[in-house]
């Protein structure tokens, strides 16, 4: 079974440019998460989806970040405009349901903002 797929794996952009990350969760997983991971730190939740509904976006900086999961399957996270401080790894994870249990993580997208 394929795991969580993310693309691109690496992205380098200049500040003030837009950037988008894509995630395809494990087939059948209704819950999808986007996390931000700074160097040497644990992942921090940005947004959680139940199917196509964003049920927890309290940590998403809505002035520049947006996300969508239109058909309840794959998802896109966008930053516009990017700032230097956005340099980090953006992780996507999925789980079968919102019940307690394992979250399966993708390899992440490493963003560098110059």
């Amino acid at each position: 079974e394929a795991g969580v797929v993310q693309s691109p794996r690496y992205k380098i952009i200049e500040k003030k440019q837009p950037v988008a990350f894509w995630c395809n969760p494990i087939s059948g997983h209704n819950t999808l998460y986007w996390y931000l991971q700074n160097l040497g730190q644990g992942p921090e939740l940005l947004i959680r989806y139940e199917n196509e509904e964003a049920v927890d976006d309290s940590q998403l900086p809505k002035d520049r970040f947006s996300a969508e999961r239109l058909k309840g399957v794959d998802s896109t996270l966008k930053i516009q405009p990017a700032e230097l401080g956005d340099s980090a790894v953006y992780l996507c994870a999925s789980s079968p349901t919102s019940a307690q249990g394992e979250q399966f993580f993708g390899p992440g997208t490493r963003l560098t903002v110059l």
Binding site: V4, G40, Q41, G42, P43, L91, Q100, E102, Q103, P107
Partner: protein, 111 residues
């Protein structure tokens, strides 16, 4: 705010030794805990979990201990191997699958 933290940023051990990675948590309402392993360039990988109604759970070469009295969690790895070298995170699961991660401990295993 309440958070999950780790006591040691780096742990160096010899191959074959047993490793113990510690974690303190502060949210007394947390009832589910997970240990993740993260290798360089990869996403976190599930190792083992434990619910608050348990104080010990064993997997293959790994054991998680939970002490709710002092809000302490530990991961024990038996016969540590070079392939165990990674960063280990503990995470507490709040309501509705909200994971709060600690800052991580780097485990270095020397052959």
């Amino acid at each position: 705010g309440e958070s999950v933290g780790l006591h040691l940023p780096t742990l160096s051990v010899q191959e074959g030794d047993n490793s113990i990675i510690n974690c303190a948590y502060s949210n007394s309402a947390s009832d589910y805990f997970i240990w993740y392993k993260q290798e360089s360039g990869k996403g976190p990988q599930f190792i083992i979990d434990i619910r608050s109604n348990m104080d010990k759970r064993q997997g293959q070469r790994v054991t998680v201990l939970l002490n709710k009295t002092v809000k302490h969690l530990s991961l024990q790895i038996a016969a540590t191997q070079p392939g165990d070298s990674a960063v280990y995170f503990c995470a507490e699961n709040l309501a509705f699958q909200k994971l709060v991660f600690g800052t991580g401990t780097r485990l270095l295993v020397s052959p």
